[in-house]
Each structure stands twice: as structure tokens, then as C-alpha cells.
Symmetry: C2
Subunit: 204 residues, 2 copies
């Protein structure tokens, strides 16, 4: 039976938190001969608008979503209100309990925490939310890693860190060669431009 | 008047080609006090399904799209057929002629070429399509850069290279400080995992 990697969408999620990993997982699934698939999920199965105004359709509602092997919760400004949305917290708790891997990107960590998955765990989030996560009880917050794995829970740092985490997870799900091939297909050998501030030397 | 960065969507575009730059431009626009906005555009204004099965809504159709200041054409398997779609080539030609910047990611370069914007120019594309682009007349193909700027035309290499290119363009549109701030907000200090092949030393 096909295994499913599910990406939870909610109002005001952050685009790249969801679509960075979806690109990685999607390329992986394509090369898996039907062993894996990737799905988007929203509370009511309706399209969801991101904080930056990108509207993405959902493949499933919380109600009709099959059990996931990998659960991914993106971050974004919407997490500030979603932590109090019992429907999404209940969904994350139920799916996470049955999943092989429970993952978040950016402030998605706060939804994992609220669902109980960060208790006693090492975890990370966006740099701008690190202090807030430290105030939550029973989490050892790590602030200098792109992603943190503790058992079957992996939390990624801010936004773009989800790409790095997803590649790591592909290697865990299969092997390094598969992950390397995905990295090659998406040419993920990043070289961000180096910006000089006024009067500052350009780093090379 | 608000300036618009437009991202063209077509069937079987590649997710990250579009959404990587959209994240960068979206964060930039948010901090521009309404000077800039980002829009998605499809031929008929209807939602478009990517090659990996992500369906994204369009803000405009080709017909009702305002003149763009920045045009971005993503790549993906769909470009193989879109190069022969006169509607999209005509739209790219018209918008590109009026735009300040004409950009592509990955195999989006082939649509720019078909619209006439790579004639006599240096350009790049996904590594897997470099030889194909070399066969096109009158393009000097560069194969070892994340992005290539020639005049007001910027072509990025494969998939993830669009993020690097978009950050560069933000600096061109404004200044390095703005681009650095966007990079910081999206934590784009990538550290892809290093994969060891069987029997190979892990790089550190």
C-alpha cells in the first residue's frame, strides 16, 4: 500500500515552510515507483490561503485523511491562533500518534508542542520564536541547528530550513543515495548572494 | 502606484521554481509599505496544477494582468509543451517588453528564449537542460552559475537556484540591507545534509 507524507495547511501558513519540503518529498515520491505519495490536508478540505497570499488546494480534509507515515506541520503567523484550534491540535495528535515520523518547520513546532509531541524532547523553531519556545514547559530548545531530531520527532528552524530537514528525512526513509539524487534534481547546492552593508566588506 | 512582481503559472510547473522566489518576493513586498505586491498569473485565471500535484490559485488571467515590473517564469516539465503555446509566449513577450526585469528559473529559460529575450544573451537553466539550451541559436549558455544576469534579463539554474536569484534581485530592486533582512527572516543560511554513498567518507 502507498505510504503518505502529509502536509497540513492552515490559514496564514508560510509558503516555503510547506512547499520547500513538498518539493523534496514530491521528487522523492516520484522516484519511489508508487511506494510513496505526498498529500496536502486542510481542516475542511477547502483551499487555504497563506500569509503571503498564495492559495493552495487541499487533497484531504482532516476527516477523510488516511493515516500518514510522515506528518509535516509548517509554520507561519497562523500558528499563533492555530495553537488554540482544537480541530488542528486534535488532528496533529491523532495523526502523529500513528505516524512513523512527526515533523515541523519554523513555528509549526508550537503545534507539535501543543499536541504533546515535544514533551521532554530537544527541538527548534524560527530564530524569532526561540525565546517563546523556551518559555514552554518541558522542551529543551536548540537554537543553532537547521533541524533537530529527537526520536521520531524532527523540528526544523525557520522557513528555508525545512528543505534541509526534508532531505535529511528522505535519507532516513530510504538511503543517502536517494536523498542525494533528489538534491541533484532540485539543484540544491545553494549559494545565497553575499550582501555588503554600507561600508562593510563583502564576504566571499 | 503599487509595483507588481508577477509569477506565471502553467500546467506542470515545478513547485519550488515558483514558490521559492514567491517567498522571497512576498517577504520583500510585505516590508515595502505597499510599494510592491506579488501576483500569480495563469492563462485563464483558473487554478493550475504543478507537476508534483500542487494546485495553486491565480490572482490574474493573461487578459486581466496589469503591466508587471518584474516578470518571473518558472520551469518544470510543462515547459516542454508550453514553448509551443502561443498564448503564454505572447504573454511573456508582451509583459517582458514592458517590464523592468525579465527572469526565469530552471527550464523557464526556454519560454524566455521562445519569446525572444535570450537572443545574443548569456543565460542558464537546469543542469539537465543545459545541452538542449546550447542547441538553441544565439544564446551563450553558462553552466556553472546559480543565476546569470545579462542586461535586465536574469536566468536562474535549476529549481532551488530561483531562491538565490530572487534574493539577488531584491538587492537590485532596493538595496543589500533589504535583501539581507529577507534572507534573515526566511533563515536562508542553508546547510544541506551531507550524504555519504556506500563506502564513501561522509563530508563534513
Amino acid at each position: 500500500m502507498t505510504k503518505t507524507i502529509g502536509i497540513v495547511l492552515f490559514p496564514d501558513f508560510e509558503d516555503l515552510d510547506a512547499i520547500g519540503p513538498k518539493e523534496v518529498f514530491g521528487m522523492f515520491a516520484l522516484s519511489s515507483s508508487g511506494e510513496w505519495q505526498v498529500a496536502t490536508i486542510s481542516q475542511d478540505g477547502e483551499p487555504v490561503r497563506s500569509y503571503l497570499g498564495t492559495t493552495i488546494e487541499a487533497d484531504h480534509s482532516f476527516g477523510d485523511c488516511p493515516q500518514l507515515e510522515v506528518l509535516l506541520v509548517p509554520g507561519g503567523l497562523g500558528t499563533r491562533t492555530e495553537v488554540d484550534n482544537e480541530a488542528i491540535i486534535g488532528f496533529v495528535r491523532k495523526q502523529g500518534t500513528g505516524a512513523d515520523w512527526i515533523t515541523s518547520v519554523c513555528t509549526g513546532a508550537f503545534l507539535l508542542h501543543r499536541a504533546g509531541f515535544l514533551d521532554g524532547k530537544r527541538a527548534t523553531t524560527h530564530w524569532g520564536a526561540i525565546e517563546l519556545l523556551r518559555q514552554e514547559s518541558n522542551v529543551t530548545v536548540v537554537d543553532d541547528e537547521r533541524w533537530v531530531k529527537d526520536g521520531n520527532v524532527i523540528t526544523a528552524a525557520g522557513v528555508s530550513a525545512g528543505i534541509d530537514m526534508a532531505l535529511y528525512l528522505v535519507a532516513e526513509l530510504t538511503n543517502s543515495d536517494k536523498a542525494k539524487r533528489v538534491q541533484h534534481m532540485m539543484e540544491y547546492y545553494p549559494k545565497p548572494p553575499q550582501f555588503a552593508e554600507a561600508g562593510e566588506e563583502t564576504q566571499v
